[in-house]
Amino acid sequence: MATTPRSGGASGAAQRPNGTSQNKSCQFKLVLLGESAVGKSSLVLRFVKGQFHEYQESTIGAAFLTQTICIEDTVVKFEIWDTAGQERYHSLAPMYYRGAQAAIVVYDIQNQDSFQRAKTWVKELHKQASPNIVIALAGNKADLSNIRVVEFDEAKQYAEENGLLFMETSAKTGMNVNDIFLAIAKKLPKNDGANNQGAGAGRRLNENETNRQTNNCCK
């Protein structure tokens, strides 16, 4: 039986009859994808805790964190799934990006292969993820731009051609980290919708999720 609608619902705040609206709140599932060691976990750590670890251990699995931000009159809660980048775990990725309203595909500006891999991820998302998914491309390790191999303009052009948000980020310095999440939050639809989920109920992936409708809406 279908239970709680999954992520992406909004906990509704009542619209006042005469115009002044109380805060809307939305919940979105966001997944980070990209080759291993490009800095996915570091980006999340910087965004969520404002920290940076020089030696971030490799993610073997999928870490889950939440972070809430306010844009205009909307409270946007991100449920962030930071996935393992190793190719070995590639086949498990759909379990995490399925039902996601947003994805950040990360590459390392010093690593051409990681950029090619990012393109493959984008292709896969376009083919298999929910059709309205908001995808951001993050060229991470921008603090090392003097030894870059992926040119800014090349990545930007690719992003434009594929309808992606694009920023070069640095989890180390914090450059553009909040901004990329904010840009995603702004781009996500926050219109009224039929489904919502109160209180973050059942926001986790679970085995029944395949059968459930997801939605990107708020009220």
């Binding site: 931000i69 919502n196 109160g198 059942g202």
Partner: protein, 869 residues
């Protein structure tokens, strides 16, 4: 066998599965019940036992709640979850949001407050140890038939709580309330924001202009109302204009006339302060009573709620010639109520006036949110309250008519002031000092007191208020308006209305959200695993291998974990060749659990395993397990090792590409051979197959009893693995089994490859009309398949001839193996399989041996085989 597919065609007349569209097309499903909608707010393993309708008072606001009694299978615990209603009617789970969570833990209490008055009997409190109790009220009448009555609700909670207390005594069962975190946050954020209200609340000044006039059934359309309505220096923000005796006609009284004449409103709008622009917010009329709220343009955007109601207190207490009309509104965060009342008339009726007041105060309610007059931050009670000046008999009646009397002297005799002192009415209300003449009763058109009935002058027309942060700036009557026997009265107030400073609010909200995020992220349950790679080393067909690993909980919470079910087509936590035990468990704090992983590539799973080996591009893992921690992260556990190839499961083509015993091949070698599509074969038929046939052929009468079924008994008997090794090593030793075990090995050799032997021509063969046609198809099979098939047929014919086994039996057994099909769905599959096989092993063929493209008779094939080996 699990991955065996039998044609699924059912005989005629088999029962339908009942999913028929024809049924659903005519009968639309009934709309879900409230209980079903509430259930959908929760997860699959959480059960809503019952719902109970209640309401809460929040900021003096009545808020409807649905209390759901929910249990969690994973936690083994119960809780009451309070849901607020986002909109009505409730049709989707989204129409409800969780506002509060009350775990039925040891500190939980439900307090019933039963020995007070009639109203408070319907009140109870929920208490969960940490923090103040939450107060709920309930209705005597329930509107949802699924909602429990209070007594049943109470009894159920008590019984659930007791059932858990019992389990607390059991040492090996730990109750967990972690599941509730999913429903907690919104309420938590709200509560925290409320606690910090003072940090973002400011009080903005608003000028409120209240005005009352008993027009004595006269038209006021031509009166100079700006004398009354624009007395303030600054333009007010809000006007509350109250009229009485608008229409005293019997008709209006009987019909309880509530119609509004736009001309009246226009007249008022024309008469208000000229220095600002105004618009009507709302008006309410009951017979002679009219209350109109006019607001400065632009203010509507800050008014979020506006409700009206009225109450009759006239003739028989039913007629509308007396009573009250009222408007309730919310301006920013402040709730304001305006009441216009016309209370019982005549000097002697003080008690009736008090009663009218008390009834209005008690009964007038803004229905949709159950709000009384008293449930407002700022209340303005305006009207012809009809209280008189009652002088003692020793003072001559004419004394009141002396306009030189000081107001204070007259007001000593004011019934309203006296009754308020006695606390008989308007308790806790305020009124400004009266510095004007009595407003009643004048000869219309004059400033002279009534000479017709010689009524005593009185301060009938009054404006009172109740609430914080209200300052009266003016309170006066307007003598110059002479149309009525009453003089109009007005009062101007400065009210500091509670307002949210949006910037500060946003800052506090961000802080609160951040704190909640942090707590949520920091308190995530976590487990550690002693390895993320389980290496099975070398794995062999039909050999069970076992590895254990340990998960431990060293976080400060009990943890529920489970292996996550993977996407279709697998729909299981792991591949078929693996078994994991347990699938899920709860780990109390500081405990660990051994997880056992068994790996067995057997008859059931070898096809899938070989396919995975063939198709995996990068590093091969037998599988990756996803260890999911409830409310936390996932860990991936790789199950790795290498598969030692065996002839079982490999296609005849692949086997014909080998040039040494299978034991000398690695997993990687065999992957290459499986992916090789060139027609370059090293032998005409697999040596393993030939050796088996050769051995079987020599068994003669011992073959009796073989080939009885295409489904060998599992597990395979003890010496099967010896047979496997004999074949995989091309052993020179004597065959390590007997006719029976060789027959089983032969069947498996033919049965286990991903493709049936006669593929890709199975479909054609099953449809073939004649022996000749079938033979043509056999002729175009790949050489290894064709040779194996023909060799097998010749071997079988010998056995049939010698009556070691029966033709139809063997045709059926081998037919189903060699012609296995997922596509052929007709009911005659078994028959067709036998028929096709009969062409090749049946007696008539014996007389006319078929022409074989490459090979021919038994002897010839063996010779060829030996030549190439």
């Amino acid at each position: 066998m699990e991955d065996e597919h039998e044609p699924t065609c059912r005989p005629n007349g088999s029962t339908s599965t009942g999913s028929g569209d024809d049924i659903s097309a005519t009968n639309a499903p009934p709309p879900p019940s409230l209980l079903q909608i509430v259930q959908k707010k929760f997860k699959d393993n959480e059960k809503v036992h019952s719902i109970f309708e209640a309401y809460q008072l929040k900021n003096q606001e009545h808020a409807n709640r649905i209390l759901a009694v929910v249990s969690s299978l994973s936690g083994g615990t119960y809780a009451i979850i309070s849901l607020s209603i986002v909109r009505t009617p409730i049709r989707f789970p989204t129409d409800l949001t969780c506002t509060n969570v009350f775990p039925l833990n040891e500190s939980f209490q439900i307090l019933v407050d039963g020995n007070k008055g009639f109203k408070s009997q319907l009140k109870f409190e929920l208490l969960t140890g940490d923090g103040k109790p939450a107060t709920f009220y309930y209705y005597i009448m329930k509107s949802e038939k699924e909602s429990l009555f209070f007594d049943d609700f109470y009894a159920q909670i008590v019984s659930f709580k007791m059932s858990m207390s019992d389990r607390h005594l059991s040492p090996d069962f730990e109750l967990s309330y972690v599941w509730l975190n999913d429903y907690r946050q919104v309420g938590e954020v709200k509560q925290e924001l409320k606690n910090r209200e003072s940090e973002y609340t400011v009080y903005n000044n608003y000028k409120i202009y209240c005005a009352t006039w008993n027009v004595n059934d006269k038209s006021f359309m031509n009166s100079n109302m700006n004398l009354w309505l624009s007395c303030s220096t600054e333009p007010p923000d809000i006007y509350a204009i109250a009229l009485q005796e608008l229409n005293n006609s019997t008709e209006a009284v009987i019909l309880k006339d509530t119609r509004l004449d736009p001309a009246w409103i226009r007249k008022m709008l024309d008469s208000v302060h000229p220095d600002s622009q105004y618009e009507e917010l709302r008006s309410v009329r009951l017979v002679g009573l009219l209350l109109t709220i006019i607001v400065r343009k632009g203010l509507k955007a800050h008014i979020s709620r506006c409700r009206i109601n009225s109450i009759t207190r006239g003739i028989l207490k039913m007629m509308g010639n007396k009573g009250a009309v009222a408007i309730s509104l919310q301006l920013n965060e402040g709730n304001i109520c305006f009441v216009n009342s016309h209370l019982a008339a005549h000097m002697a009726n003080v008690a009736e006036r008090n009663q009218d007041y008390n009834i209005i105060e008690k009964d007038l309610m803004f229905d949709d949110d159950q709000r009384h007059i008293r449930d407002h931050d700022h209340i303005f009670w305006i009207g012809d309250l009809n209280y008189r000046l009652q002088i003692p008999p020793d003072i001559p009646a004419s004394w009141l008519r002396d306009k030189n009397n000081p107001f204070e002297a007259m007001l000593i005799h004011d019934q309203l002031l006296q009754e308020r002192v006695q606390r008989n009415c308007f308790v806790d209300y305020m009124e400004g000092d009266i510095k004007f003449c009595p407003t009643y009763k004048y000869n219309p058109g004059t400033d002279n007191y009534d000479t017709e009935k010689m009524r005593a002058p009185a301060y009938c027309d009054r404006i009172l208020w109740k609430g914080d942060r209200i300052e009266q700036l003016a309170y006066n009557s307007v003598m110059e308006m002479r149309e009525s026997d009453h003089k109009p009265v007005y009062a101007i107030f400065n009210v500091k209305i509670k307002t949210r400073d949006e910037k500060k609010y946003k800052r506090v909200q961000e802080e609160v959200l951040k704190a909640v995020d942090k707590r949520e992220n920091d308190n995530q349950p976590q487990i550690t695993v002693d390895t993320t790679v389980i290496d099975f080393g070398v794995v062999t067909f039909n050999e069970l291998a076992i590895r254990d690993f340990t998960v431990s909980n060293n976080c400060p919470l009990p943890v529920n974990f489970q292996f996550r079910i993977k996407d279709p087509p697998l729909n299981a936590i792991c591949e078929k060749w693996l078994k994991v035990d347990p699938h899920n468990d709860t780990l109390p704090i500081d405990t660990e659990r051994t997880i056992r992983v068994k790996l067995l590539p057997d008859v059931r799973s070898i096809r899938g395993l070989l396919k995975k080996i063939r198709t995996t591009n990068l590093k091969f893992d037998f599988d990756t397990l996803i260890l999911h921690v409830e409310n936390g992260a996932d860990k991936f556990i790789s199950v790795t090792g290498s598969y030692q190839p065996s002839c079982f499961g490999l296609s005849m083509e692949t086997l014909c590409r080998t040039d040494r015993p299978m034991c000398q091949y690695s997993q990687e070698d065999i992957k290459q051979l499986m992916n090789d599509v060139t027609p370059d074969y090293r032998v005409t038929m697999p040596r393993e197959f030939f050796l088996l046939i050769d051995y079987l052929h020599k068994q003669g009468p011992k073959l009796v009893g073989t080939f009885q079924t295409d489904k060998p008994q599992l597990p395979l008997v003890g010496n099967f693995n010896l047979v496997r090794d004999w074949l995989d090593t091309w052993s020179e030793d004597p065959f390590p089994g007997d006719a029976q075990s060789a027959a089983v090995a032969l069947l498996l050799l033919l049965k286990l490859p991903e493709q049936p032997l006669l593929e890709p021509l199975v479909g054609h063969l099953l449809e073939s009309k004649s022996k000749a046609e079938a033979m043509e198809y056999i002729d175009i099979l790949s050489a290894p398949k064709r040779n194996v098939f023909m060799h097998l047929c010749m071997f079988l014919r010998v056995g049939i001839e010698c009556q070691y086994y029966e033709l139809h039996q063997v045709a059926s057994v081998f037919g189903r193996i060699l012609l296995r099909s997922k596509e052929y769905t007709r009911g005659d599959f078994n028959t067709r399989c036998s028929e096709v096989m009969m062409h090749f092993i049946g007696p008539d063929i014996m007389d006319n041996p078929p022409l074989i493209g490459n090979g021919g008779g038994n002897v010839q094939v063996s010779a060829q085989f030996l030549n190439t080996s």
